[in-house]
Symmetry: C2
């Protein structure tokens, strides 16, 4: 039995005012000229004639909300996952602890966990034209070596974890994380952003917490809907926003968080430097951006998957304090 199922601690029950899910965004696209297929959906079933020509919906996304009975967050909190992943990022950690979704819900934040376009319950390639390319699927060792869990190329085979790493890298927990990884297209960013804007338009002014690839969507969504983003928390953002629109961010407090082992990584020094440079441009335009390198706060050993690391609650606490200090939690 995988370790992820174990619930070691027994925190108190929580009262939910309401919970549920919805899809949002997307558009209709017409496909023509394709042959009709005869499909046996299930062995032993009855064949059906399926005409692939017609109208499709594409580019929608999924969101699931849990609203606490006694909210203390002054806005909904939207948790946006990174590339090749889904909203599962924020749920139970791969080693079975409560994740950030639990942490913030327990503190009274209305929580929206979503699956971006093409991933998870959003569905993918509702028509072939949606994705415009081949999906990338990762081998077991890829995230281990690219997400600063192991010590670079070849480290998975050697099972060589970076010294002091906080990611639960025992075999069973790590494989539970790999089970969460989904195929990724690299051609759907515009669709994903559109759907995130539709999500913001629907939920209203929110705190956006975005990880990795979603750093792009967090920045860009805040630039397109500055009135809908009360604060932006970027956890190891992989990219920056639109340099031509930094002024749009001037009234939105931003927190950027980076983990450990960046200097010794092949790609993360450049990724972080790009982020810090963009933060400076936002500040120059009158904005407020706090960049936190966790090791400088004495919080060491964090991988790229900070919300899954063993000290995930400690880092969530830092985010919580930052939000409270900005009047967004009472």
């Amino acid at each position: 039995m995988p370790a992820a199922g174990a619930v070691a601690q027994s925190p108190p029950p929580i009262a939910l005012e309401r919970w549920g899910s919805f899809h949002v965004g997307g558009r209709e696209v017409v496909v023509t000229g394709q042959p009709v297929r005869e499909v046996l959906f299930s062995p032993g079933g009855v064949p059906a004639r399926v005409d692939p020509n017609g109208t499709y919906l594409m580019g929608g996304m999924y969101a699931q909300y849990m609203i606490p009975a006694n909210p203390r967050g002054q806005a909904p909190m939207l948790l946006w996952h990174g590339g090749g992943l889904t909203g599962v990022t924020w749920e139970t950690t791969p080693d079975g602890r409560e994740g950030w979704q639990h942490f913030f819900l327990r503190r009274g934040w209305p929580i929206y966990v979503s699956d971006a376009v093409e991933r998870g319950r959003a569905g993918w390639t509702q028509i072939p034209e949606q994705t415009g390319g081949q999906a990338l699927t990762l081998t077991v060792d890829n995230p281990f070596e690219r997400f600063r869990i192991g010590a670079g190329p070849g480290s998975y085979l050697r099972q060589q974890v970076l010294p002091g790493n906080q990611f639960p890298a025992d075999r069973e927990s790590y494989l539970n994380f790999v089970r969460q990884v989904v195929p990724r297209f690299t051609t759907t960013d515009a669709l994903a952003l559109d759907a995130y804007l539709a999500l913001l338009d629907r939920v209203g002014p929110s705190v956006v917490v975005a990880h990795s690839q979603a750093g792009l969507f967090g920045w860009r969504a805040a630039q397109e809907r500055p009135d809908k983003v009360r604060a932006l928390v970027l956890v190891e953002p992989a990219t920056i926003g639109d340099p031509a629109k930094v002024a749009a961010l001037r009234n939105i407090p931003v927190l950027m968080i980076y983990g450990d082992y960046i200097a010794q990584d092949a790609r993360w020094p450049a990724i972080r430097a790009n982020g810090v440079r963009f933060a400076e441009a936002v500040r120059a335009a009158g904005g407020s951006v706090d960049v936190v390198d966790l090791p400088e706060r004495g919080i060491r050993g964090n991988s790229h998957m900070i919300m899954m690391d063993r000290n995930s609650d400690e880092v969530a606490g830092l985010v919580q304090e930052w939000l409270a200090a900005r009047g967004l939690w009472r």
Copy 2:
């Protein structure tokens, strides 16, 4: 703003003892001989070298649980969705009402909503070998005409709903349902069954509620793990179990539910007849199977998506009574 977001009623808060999610099942597969790719994951990001050769995990599935603080269900309830869909089937209905997940959770059932192999948060084709075929994506009109919402072929264009149909077929609600549809492979049944067995092994003896395609998985899982299935509720099962193993079902109470408009459909008379014939074989082997045709109970107008129909609570109530009568709810 889509109607799915509206929460018309204000039922009381619910206390959760715990909630979370996990992945379960699957196996490792090795891929060799593929070219290495240089991938720019995000525009403006830093390129990464991705080697597709190596070990993959495939065939796992996702489950999300919500455990009420004061359980009255005598076993966990597992909600298994149908083909081309995900666990979203059981959540908020397309017109924004509480779904079966809400209904049974509010009555004290520990609820596990899952995404089967290849769908939703389970991820799909972790390697190409997983699916062994092309995914089938449905046009907007297909479920309308195939799930007994509209009056057969061409009815979507005519917006001709079957008289008295309970499915929320107004344009916005219907499109919210279509947004839930995900691509479907027709070659992954064996993988899906394996993962469902792993789910049962992990959660333990459960009440299994299965819809449509999952009828196959419900029957077969009960035959493979008769000690892990306390009761089987099959909502319009698309297929039957293994005729050679009916005896394995003799101690498991089974409820089969069919909706309206079956006689006039092109495929459902045969699908239902197959199901009823299998039920008779199970009874002949000493089993107990109740077949309920809703119209014969005076419950009319149900489509194939009974848990989304306007009278979804009424049918859930019938399931609830049936389970309580078998001592599974107190």
